[in-house]
Amino acid sequence: MTDDKQMAKRETDDTETLDGRRVLAPATDVLESADEYLIVADMPGASEDGVTVRLDRDELLVEGRREPLHEQAEAFVYRRVFRVPDAIDGGKITANLEHGVLTLHLPKAGEARPRQITVTVG
Protein backbone atom coordinates (compact mmCIF):
# COMPACT_ATOMS: atom_id res chain seq x y z
CA MET A 1 0.00 0.00 0.00
CA THR A 2 1.39 3.39 -0.91
CA ASP A 3 2.39 5.81 1.76
CA ASP A 4 -0.11 8.64 2.15
CA LYS A 5 2.70 11.16 1.70
CA GLN A 6 3.01 10.29 -1.96
CA MET A 7 -0.49 11.56 -2.57
CA ALA A 8 -0.13 14.58 -0.31
CA LYS A 9 -1.01 17.99 -1.60
CA ARG A 10 1.46 20.80 -1.39
CA GLU A 11 1.15 22.62 1.88
CA THR A 12 0.94 26.06 0.35
CA ASP A 13 -0.81 27.27 -2.75
CA ASP A 14 -0.02 30.84 -3.66
CA THR A 15 -1.93 30.72 -6.90
CA GLU A 16 -3.63 33.95 -7.73
CA THR A 17 -5.94 34.56 -10.61
CA LEU A 18 -5.65 37.52 -12.93
CA ASP A 19 -9.35 38.28 -12.70
CA GLY A 20 -9.38 38.31 -8.92
CA ARG A 21 -11.33 35.13 -8.44
CA ARG A 22 -10.97 33.41 -5.14
CA VAL A 23 -9.21 30.08 -5.25
CA LEU A 24 -10.65 27.35 -3.06
CA ALA A 25 -9.61 23.77 -2.50
CA PRO A 26 -12.46 21.33 -3.15
CA ALA A 27 -13.22 18.62 -0.61
CA THR A 28 -11.57 15.56 -2.11
CA ASP A 29 -11.53 11.85 -1.43
CA VAL A 30 -8.46 9.86 -2.43
CA LEU A 31 -8.83 6.10 -2.63
CA GLU A 32 -6.58 3.34 -3.85
CA SER A 33 -7.17 -0.13 -5.18
CA ALA A 34 -4.76 -2.67 -6.59
CA ASP A 35 -5.28 -1.24 -10.09
CA GLU A 36 -5.78 2.46 -9.70
CA TYR A 37 -6.07 5.59 -7.65
CA LEU A 38 -9.50 7.13 -7.44
CA ILE A 39 -9.83 10.87 -6.80
CA VAL A 40 -13.28 12.31 -6.17
CA ALA A 41 -13.71 16.07 -5.72
CA ASP A 42 -16.80 18.12 -4.86
CA MET A 43 -17.09 21.03 -7.28
CA PRO A 44 -20.72 22.14 -7.17
CA GLY A 45 -21.52 24.72 -9.81
CA ALA A 46 -18.62 23.76 -12.05
CA SER A 47 -19.53 22.93 -15.62
CA GLU A 48 -17.64 20.83 -18.11
CA ASP A 49 -16.12 23.71 -20.02
CA GLY A 50 -14.74 25.18 -16.82
CA VAL A 51 -12.90 22.08 -15.64
CA THR A 52 -9.23 21.34 -16.34
CA VAL A 53 -7.33 18.20 -15.40
CA ARG A 54 -3.63 18.04 -16.23
CA LEU A 55 -0.84 15.70 -15.29
CA ASP A 56 2.64 17.18 -15.61
CA ARG A 57 5.45 14.87 -14.51
CA ASP A 58 4.40 13.93 -11.02
CA GLU A 59 1.89 16.72 -10.40
CA LEU A 60 -1.78 16.38 -11.07
CA LEU A 61 -3.67 19.65 -11.35
CA VAL A 62 -7.42 19.69 -10.89
CA GLU A 63 -9.27 22.93 -11.52
CA GLY A 64 -12.88 23.98 -11.95
CA ARG A 65 -14.40 27.40 -12.54
CA ARG A 66 -17.59 28.47 -10.87
CA GLU A 67 -19.56 31.45 -12.10
CA PRO A 68 -21.61 33.56 -9.68
CA LEU A 69 -25.27 32.64 -9.62
CA HIS A 70 -26.51 35.97 -8.30
CA GLU A 71 -25.29 39.48 -7.60
CA GLN A 72 -23.88 38.86 -4.17
CA ALA A 73 -22.30 35.57 -5.11
CA GLU A 74 -18.64 35.16 -5.86
CA ALA A 75 -16.92 33.75 -8.86
CA PHE A 76 -14.26 31.36 -7.81
CA VAL A 77 -11.98 28.60 -8.90
CA TYR A 78 -11.72 25.18 -7.30
CA ARG A 79 -8.09 24.19 -7.45
CA ARG A 80 -5.99 21.45 -6.04
CA VAL A 81 -2.65 19.93 -6.93
CA PHE A 82 -1.59 16.42 -6.00
CA ARG A 83 1.79 14.83 -6.23
CA VAL A 84 1.24 11.43 -7.74
CA PRO A 85 3.52 8.42 -7.59
CA ASP A 86 5.59 7.37 -10.61
CA ALA A 87 3.55 4.27 -11.10
CA ILE A 88 0.66 6.09 -12.80
CA ASP A 89 -0.04 5.60 -16.50
CA GLY A 90 -0.66 9.19 -17.55
CA GLY A 91 -2.11 8.13 -20.88
CA LYS A 92 -4.91 6.20 -19.24
CA ILE A 93 -6.24 8.74 -16.76
CA THR A 94 -9.96 9.35 -17.16
CA ALA A 95 -12.01 12.20 -15.75
CA ASN A 96 -15.77 12.50 -15.46
CA LEU A 97 -17.87 15.40 -14.20
CA GLU A 98 -21.37 14.67 -13.02
CA HIS A 99 -23.68 16.60 -10.71
CA GLY A 100 -20.84 18.85 -9.63
CA VAL A 101 -18.56 15.96 -8.67
CA LEU A 102 -15.32 15.31 -10.56
CA THR A 103 -14.13 11.69 -10.55
CA LEU A 104 -10.65 10.78 -11.73
CA HIS A 105 -9.37 7.27 -12.35
CA LEU A 106 -5.57 6.98 -12.32
CA PRO A 107 -4.57 3.50 -13.45
CA LYS A 108 -1.29 2.22 -12.13
CA ALA A 109 1.74 1.04 -14.15
CA GLY A 110 3.76 2.79 -16.85
CA GLU A 111 5.82 5.93 -16.69
CA ALA A 112 4.35 9.35 -15.91
CA ARG A 113 4.11 11.58 -18.99
CA PRO A 114 2.80 15.14 -19.34
CA ARG A 115 -0.76 14.70 -20.45
CA GLN A 116 -3.89 16.84 -20.86
CA ILE A 117 -6.95 14.84 -19.93
CA THR A 118 -10.33 15.30 -21.56
CA VAL A 119 -13.21 15.58 -19.14
CA THR A 120 -16.37 13.65 -19.98
CA VAL A 121 -19.77 14.60 -18.70
CA GLY A 122 -22.54 12.47 -17.33
Binding site: A25, S33, E71
Partner: protein, 150 residues
Amino acid sequence: MLTRWTRRRDPWLEMYDLMKEMDRIFTSAGPPSAGRARSWMPEAWPPIDVTDEGDKVVVRGDLPGMTEKDVQVTATRNSLSLAGERKVDVPEGYSVHRQERPAWKFSRSFELPTRIDVESVRASMKNGVLTIELAKHAEEKPRQITVKAS
Protein backbone atom coordinates in the same frame (compact mmCIF):
# COMPACT_ATOMS: atom_id res chain seq x y z
CA MET B 1 -2.69 29.30 1.21
CA LEU B 2 -5.35 26.71 0.60
CA THR B 3 -8.67 28.03 1.79
CA ARG B 4 -11.40 25.70 2.82
CA TRP B 5 -14.70 26.14 1.01
CA THR B 6 -17.18 26.61 3.81
CA ARG B 7 -20.81 27.18 4.34
CA ARG B 8 -21.81 30.71 3.50
CA ARG B 9 -23.70 32.82 6.00
CA ASP B 10 -27.44 32.55 5.80
CA PRO B 11 -28.60 36.11 4.91
CA TRP B 12 -32.10 35.51 6.21
CA LEU B 13 -30.80 35.46 9.75
CA GLU B 14 -29.46 38.94 9.22
CA MET B 15 -32.25 40.36 7.14
CA TYR B 16 -35.27 39.24 9.07
CA ASP B 17 -35.85 39.27 12.81
CA LEU B 18 -38.89 37.04 12.78
CA MET B 19 -37.41 33.84 11.64
CA LYS B 20 -38.02 30.46 13.07
CA GLU B 21 -35.95 27.66 11.85
CA MET B 22 -36.60 24.10 12.81
CA ASP B 23 -33.75 21.88 12.03
CA ARG B 24 -33.80 18.21 12.40
CA ILE B 25 -30.34 17.34 11.51
CA PHE B 26 -28.94 13.89 11.43
CA THR B 27 -25.24 14.25 11.16
CA SER B 28 -23.69 11.22 9.66
CA ALA B 29 -19.96 11.24 9.56
CA GLY B 30 -18.11 9.35 6.87
CA PRO B 31 -15.98 6.45 7.91
CA PRO B 32 -13.07 7.56 10.04
CA SER B 33 -9.87 7.75 8.11
CA ALA B 34 -6.29 8.38 9.01
CA GLY B 35 -6.10 10.58 5.94
CA ARG B 36 -8.67 13.12 7.05
CA ALA B 37 -6.90 16.45 7.42
CA ARG B 38 -7.70 18.23 10.64
CA SER B 39 -9.26 21.22 8.92
CA TRP B 40 -11.87 19.23 7.01
CA MET B 41 -14.83 18.59 9.24
CA PRO B 42 -18.08 16.99 8.13
CA GLU B 43 -20.77 19.60 7.56
CA ALA B 44 -23.95 19.25 9.56
CA TRP B 45 -25.85 20.29 6.48
CA PRO B 46 -24.99 21.63 3.04
CA PRO B 47 -24.49 25.38 2.50
CA ILE B 48 -27.64 27.35 1.68
CA ASP B 49 -27.85 30.82 0.15
CA VAL B 50 -31.03 32.85 0.30
CA THR B 51 -31.55 36.00 -1.72
CA ASP B 52 -34.46 38.36 -2.11
CA GLU B 53 -34.62 39.18 -5.78
CA GLY B 54 -37.49 41.66 -5.89
CA ASP B 55 -40.49 39.68 -6.99
CA LYS B 56 -39.13 36.35 -5.82
CA VAL B 57 -37.06 34.74 -3.14
CA VAL B 58 -34.37 32.36 -4.36
CA VAL B 59 -32.90 29.61 -2.23
CA ARG B 60 -29.73 27.94 -3.47
CA GLY B 61 -27.89 25.01 -1.98
CA ASP B 62 -24.65 23.29 -2.91
CA LEU B 63 -25.47 19.62 -3.09
CA PRO B 64 -22.67 18.06 -5.12
CA GLY B 65 -23.31 14.48 -6.15
CA MET B 66 -27.06 14.75 -5.62
CA THR B 67 -29.77 14.69 -8.24
CA GLU B 68 -33.35 15.90 -8.19
CA LYS B 69 -34.35 12.43 -6.98
CA ASP B 70 -32.25 12.78 -3.83
CA VAL B 71 -33.89 15.95 -2.59
CA GLN B 72 -37.43 16.66 -1.38
CA VAL B 73 -38.67 20.22 -1.46
CA THR B 74 -41.94 21.14 0.16
CA ALA B 75 -43.46 24.62 0.16
CA THR B 76 -46.45 26.10 1.86
CA ARG B 77 -47.64 29.69 1.75
CA ASN B 78 -45.13 30.69 4.34
CA SER B 79 -42.66 27.90 4.81
CA LEU B 80 -40.11 25.87 2.91
CA SER B 81 -38.76 22.43 3.78
CA LEU B 82 -35.75 20.69 2.33
CA ALA B 83 -34.74 17.12 2.95
CA GLY B 84 -32.16 14.91 1.37
CA GLU B 85 -29.45 12.40 1.82
CA ARG B 86 -26.05 11.82 0.32
CA LYS B 87 -24.08 8.74 1.06
CA VAL B 88 -20.34 8.56 0.59
CA ASP B 89 -19.45 4.92 0.35
CA VAL B 90 -16.02 3.46 -0.24
CA PRO B 91 -16.24 0.98 -3.12
CA GLU B 92 -15.18 -2.65 -2.65
CA GLY B 93 -11.46 -3.20 -2.88
CA TYR B 94 -10.40 0.38 -2.18
CA SER B 95 -8.50 1.73 0.76
CA VAL B 96 -8.87 5.32 1.88
CA HIS B 97 -5.99 7.79 1.85
CA ARG B 98 -8.14 10.85 2.30
CA GLN B 99 -11.85 11.27 2.98
CA GLU B 100 -12.99 14.87 3.05
CA ARG B 101 -16.31 14.79 1.24
CA PRO B 102 -19.04 14.69 3.84
CA ALA B 103 -22.11 12.49 3.83
CA TRP B 104 -25.36 14.25 4.63
CA LYS B 105 -28.76 13.40 5.87
CA PHE B 106 -30.63 16.60 6.45
CA SER B 107 -34.14 17.77 7.01
CA ARG B 108 -34.65 21.44 7.48
CA SER B 109 -37.62 23.82 7.56
CA PHE B 110 -37.72 27.57 7.19
CA GLU B 111 -40.60 29.79 8.10
CA LEU B 112 -40.74 32.38 5.33
CA PRO B 113 -41.15 36.00 6.32
CA THR B 114 -42.99 36.89 3.15
CA ARG B 115 -45.94 35.06 1.70
CA ILE B 116 -45.16 33.20 -1.45
CA ASP B 117 -47.22 31.88 -4.31
CA VAL B 118 -47.02 28.14 -3.74
CA GLU B 119 -48.30 27.29 -7.20
CA SER B 120 -45.37 28.93 -8.88
CA VAL B 121 -42.51 27.49 -6.82
CA ARG B 122 -39.85 26.08 -9.09
CA ALA B 123 -36.98 23.87 -8.04
CA SER B 124 -34.19 22.56 -10.23
CA MET B 125 -30.76 21.00 -9.93
CA LYS B 126 -27.81 21.65 -12.14
CA ASN B 127 -24.16 20.71 -11.63
CA GLY B 128 -24.93 19.76 -8.06
CA VAL B 129 -26.55 23.11 -7.20
CA LEU B 130 -30.19 23.19 -6.10
CA THR B 131 -32.09 26.34 -7.02
CA ILE B 132 -35.56 27.02 -5.63
CA GLU B 133 -37.43 30.05 -6.90
CA LEU B 134 -40.33 31.18 -4.78
CA ALA B 135 -42.38 33.89 -6.41
CA LYS B 136 -43.76 36.27 -3.85
CA HIS B 137 -47.48 36.44 -3.42
CA ALA B 138 -48.94 39.31 -5.44
CA GLU B 139 -49.60 41.34 -2.33
CA GLU B 140 -46.01 41.02 -1.18
CA LYS B 141 -44.32 42.21 -4.30
CA PRO B 142 -42.55 45.53 -4.01
CA ARG B 143 -44.37 48.32 -5.71
CA GLN B 144 -42.72 51.35 -7.13
CA ILE B 145 -44.06 54.46 -5.47
CA THR B 146 -44.07 57.69 -7.40
CA VAL B 147 -42.78 60.62 -5.45
CA LYS B 148 -44.75 63.70 -6.31
CA ALA B 149 -43.62 67.22 -5.85
CA SER B 150 -45.93 69.16 -3.63
